[in-house]
């Protein structure tokens, strides 16, 4: 067999140096389940869900952390693999309160879909429901529910390697393992910058978007891909909508942000349906505003602008475009000022 070829489930596949078995499998359209693998971060083999059988190897090997080698013969769903995977899933289910009924992650939980795929039910030896777990709900953005944490470590690598915010780590030892921010303080009192990458990375329901809790199941929500309204990076976001209302925002796996967001992009959208929003035109009379209809307000604006233009000249009128509105709207605004009013006093807040 020539170098850089291996066999997966009876078919040969070529690979490049440095690729793992998981890379080769996924690149060839072969599904190997994993809970801990996350984007372009260091594979850790922590969850053991991706174990595969490699001919000649004494034990099953984690596909995410095993380099592909020439001539390797790999089985991804052999009876031995399936048996081991079921045991891993069963142990993960036993490790916490994995009750899907009220879990936010229901429908997008990767552990749930693994349990379904391999038909594993919650085991008899699961932790009893009254086992105490840490529950952090002291800010308006993130909730951490450690009764759901499977210690896959995805959030840690998302934080340290993908966003490089270096705010969390795996703390303590053995059975006391826990995801900790510096000093094991709550996120809100730590180095955490609330980018929410941990939330996006979590395969289960251990980190939650606080505002979205109870606001709808994934299958009830519509996703709209749009562009973030904050800084100039232009992150692509997926807005989750239910019954005409925004529920949450997640980072879209697209250029330029590749799924990443910051606190503003992820948690800063509540201005949209804030009660302070202007909902009707206002006209000032005797120093106070009163509500008005569109026709009245627009007629007034048109007649006053026309008046000033005709009596004083178009060069006495200025129009400010906006770095917040769309290209189309900016284009129309300068067209209005130049072609209709006749002034080049057109600018926006680029300098501020």
């Amino acid at each position: 067999m020539p170098p850089s070829i291996l066999t997966i489930n009876g078919a040969t596949h070529s690979f490049e140096a440095g690729q793992t078995i998981l890379d080769v499998a996924l690149g060839s359209g072969i599904t190997v389940p994993t809970l801990c693998n996350y984007k372009d971060t260091t594979p850790t083999g922590a969850c053991r869900v991706c174990v595969v059988e490699v001919e000649g190897a004494r034990t099953l090997l984690p596909a995410c952390a095993t380099q592909a080698a020439p001539g390797m013969v790999v089985q991804t769903e052999s009876p031995r693999v399936v048996e081991a995977r079921k045991m891993v899933i069963e142990l993960l289910l036993a490790s916490g309160n994995h009750n899907c009924l009220v879990c936010e992650a229901n429908g997008e939980c990767e552990l749930q879909s693994l349990a379904y795929r391999y038909q594993v039910t919650t085991p008899d030896f699961a932790n009893p429901p009254d086992t105490p777990y840490y529950y952090e709900d002291d800010n308006h953005m993130l909730v951490r529910d450690f009764s759901k944490c499977v210690m896959c470590g995805r959030c840690v690598r998302a934080c340290n390697e993908w966003q490089v915010n270096q705010a969390i780590a795996i703390g303590y030892r053995g059975a006391h393992n826990k995801i900790v921010a510096r000093g094991d303080f709550p996120y809100v009192n730590s180095d955490c910058v609330f980018c929410g990458e941990c939330l996006q990375a979590c395969p289960v329901g251990a980190i939650l978007d606080k505002h979205a809790i109870g606001q709808g199941r994934p299958w009830e929500r519509r996703l709209v891909r749009t562009t973030c309204p904050y800084c100039g990076v232009g992150c692509q976001v997926d807005v989750h909508v239910k019954d005409g209302r925004m529920v949450k925002v997640t980072g879209a796996d697209a250029i330029p942000n590749l799924g990443k967001l910051c606190a503003k992009g992820r948690f800063g959208w509540h201005f949209v349906d804030h009660p302070d929003r202007l909902k009707t035109p206002l006209i000032k009379e005797n120093g106070a505003f009163r509500e008005a209809g569109w026709d009245e307000a627009l007629d007034l604006v048109a007649s006053r602008l026309k008046d000033i233009r005709d009596k004083e000249g178009p060069e006495k009128i200025g129009g400010w475009c906006s770095a917040r509105v769309t290209n189309e709207e900016n284009y129309l605004m300068q067209k209005l000022m130049r072609a209709v009013i006749g002034t080049n006093h057109v600018d926006h807040c680029a300098r501020l």
Partner: protein
């Protein structure tokens, strides 16, 4: 940006100056941090404040505020002296190098240290790091531009990039990080006093003739209009009588805010179109309620020139309307019908009259996600980085520029320098971010950032209210004794209407860009 965000991760040396990237452009900062941490790339931070990026930096040059030109000239002088400049590139692609060489020659490391406080040895290391990198990228933001020497600061950075052959190559370039979602697009679309969309000058008869034909009007004005910072002082002089303001809050964001309020109150007629009754809208005669980004469709253009779709998520709240509908309705009432079926129809017109956008269509954006201008034809893939092979103007011009002091230097009465900017959890005048409970919860109030040494000198403890005064105004806010702060300098964010720092800032402008010097003015401080 001349280059693209994703290229940063492959840049051999990233020079960040005047950008607190982790707070103002957090997602771009992840590319910079990943380059350093996982790809062993060099990071030079030139910045007075100890920003978070400093902890990732290979080298930190801590210059005094307003001394950027001296530092960069010093780097160039060393690079030329040590023969590290790209002579082939300079000969082939640039002009006016001799003038640059003569000007920077006097910026010896010792002279630079005297002006900027940057140790000579650090300057040497930085010069070698930048010059010896195969592809080096310069990243900057308002810390460079918001000075009376802002234009010259940018030209100086461009000088440095060209000197080492870093413009027109992958992972190089001169990369301004634009601060607002569509500030790039507002410029591209002709939201400026001197150009139509695509930067076609209003003073160019051919450009005017083209737009007159496209818009069906007889004569477009041929004079260069005033900038925002020019319009405000023109109001009390009677030169501006009416303003139509869309999505801007100058009462909080403009320098010398008291003057802004006085000026706006003198207008015969003020219309403000916004999503909230902002501090500026409160001064208006008529307020028009606009829809937010989530309630309309269109496109934004990001800092890397990428035009990306904005898609309607929900229906406009109450009676609010998308800005384009309001503007079109107003045009109709002014006797100029604007009959667009929707944003796509407007975009089709933009394409017809804007060469750099000509190849971008809604269908392509739908299929390809986003496209970077210039994109002249529908077959063109978009432009990942600019000035490849040749500069837009032909030869890249070096500008010989000298350091000069900011407009207002500290003195006996106002002994501290004040700079302004953003914090991570807030955005601009706060009208959006302050209404998001998570963000507001993390940064609910204005804090005056000061060093422990200065705080002790003025008898101020962390968290105590302080009064900060400039020649133009004053504010009261609590002190934040911080390791980020610079000795002799305080930093105040401009998001908070309760402590509007722009009452204090100086409306001294860069002569070309008309940008105010937000990054240096003189203040004093006392316990409140």
């Amino acid at each position: 940006m001349t280059n693209s965000i994703a290229e940063l991760e492959d840049s051999d040396c990233i020079l960040v100056t005047g950008s607190n990237t982790t707070e103002t452009h957090p997602v771009i900062s992840t590319f910079i941090k990943r380059a350093v941490k996982f790809r062993n790339k060099a990071l030079i931070v030139i910045e007075p404040r100890r920003i978070d990026l400093v902890s990732h930096a290979t080298l930190w040059l801590r210059q005094l505020p307003g001394t950027d030109i001296a530092v960069i000239n010093g780097l160039m002088n060393l690079i030329i002296q040590e023969n590290l400049h790209d002579q082939a590139y300079i000969a082939e692609r640039t002009e006016n190098f001799e003038a640059l060489r003569e000007t920077v020659a006097k910026y010896t490391p010792e002279y630079v240290e005297q002006i900027s406080g940057v140790p000579a040895a650090d300057l040497r290391r930085a010069a070698r790091l930048y010059a010896q990198a195969k592809a080096a990228s310069i990243v900057y933001a308002m810390g460079v531009t918001q000075h009376t020497s802002g234009t010259d600061n940018v030209k100086t950075l461009a000088n440095l990039a060209m000197l080492c052959g870093n413009v027109g190559i992958e992972s190089g370039g001169v990369n301004p990080l634009r601060g607002q979602n569509n500030v790039q697009g507002a410029c591209d679309m002709g939201g400026l006093p001197n150009v139509f969309s695509g930067y076609q000058p209003v003073t160019d008869a051919a450009a005017r003739a083209k737009m007159e034909a496209a818009w069906g009007v007889e004569k477009l004005p041929d004079w260069v209009g005033l900038t925002m910072t020019g319009m405000v002082p023109a109001i009390p002089e009677g030169k501006i009588k009416a303003l139509y303001i869309v999505g801007e809050n100058p009462v909080i964001s403009e320098a010398d805010a008291d003057h802004v309020v006085k000026a706006l109150n003198k207008l015969d007629f003020l219309v403000v179109q916004d999503i909230f009754l902002t501090e500026t809208a409160q001064l208006a005669d008529v307020v028009l309620p606009a829809a937010t980004f989530a309630e309309k469709s269109g496109t934004f253009s990001n800092t890397e020139r990428r035009v990306a779709p904005v898609r309607q998520v929900i229906a406009p709240l109450g009676d609010s309307r998308p800005d384009w509908q309001i503007i079109a309705e107003l045009a109709r009432r002014l006797g100029y019908p604007m009959n667009y079926a929707g944003p796509e129809a407007i975009f089709e017109e933009i394409r017809q009259v804007t060469p750099s956008y000509a190849g971008i269509t809604y269908a392509r954006l739908e299929a390809e996600g986003g496209l970077q201008w210039p994109c002249p034809t529908t077959e063109h893939p978009g432009t990942v980085y600019l000035h490849r092979g040749q500069f837009s103007r032909g030869k890249g011009a070096f500008f010989a520029i000298d350091h000069r002091d900011p407009a207002e230097m500290p003195d006996a009465d106002y002994p501290l320098v004040m700079t302004t900017g953003r914090v991570l959890y807030q955005y601009h005048t706060g009208s959006m971010s302050r209404r998001a409970p998570g963000l507001e919860g993390k940064a609910p109030e204005c804090r005056v950032e000061i060093t422990a040494g200065d705080a002790a000198r003025y008898g101020i403890a962390d968290g105590e209210p302080v009064r900060v005064k400039s020649r133009r105004g004053e504010l009261v806010a609590r002190a934040l004794v911080s390791p980020k702060a610079v000795a002799g300098t305080i930093f105040i964010p401009f998001h908070y209407h309760e402590a509007p720092v722009n009452k204090l800032t100086i409306a001294a402008l860069d002569p070309v860009a008309k940008i105010p010097e937000f990054k240096v003015c003189a203040v004093n401080i006392e316990k409140a």
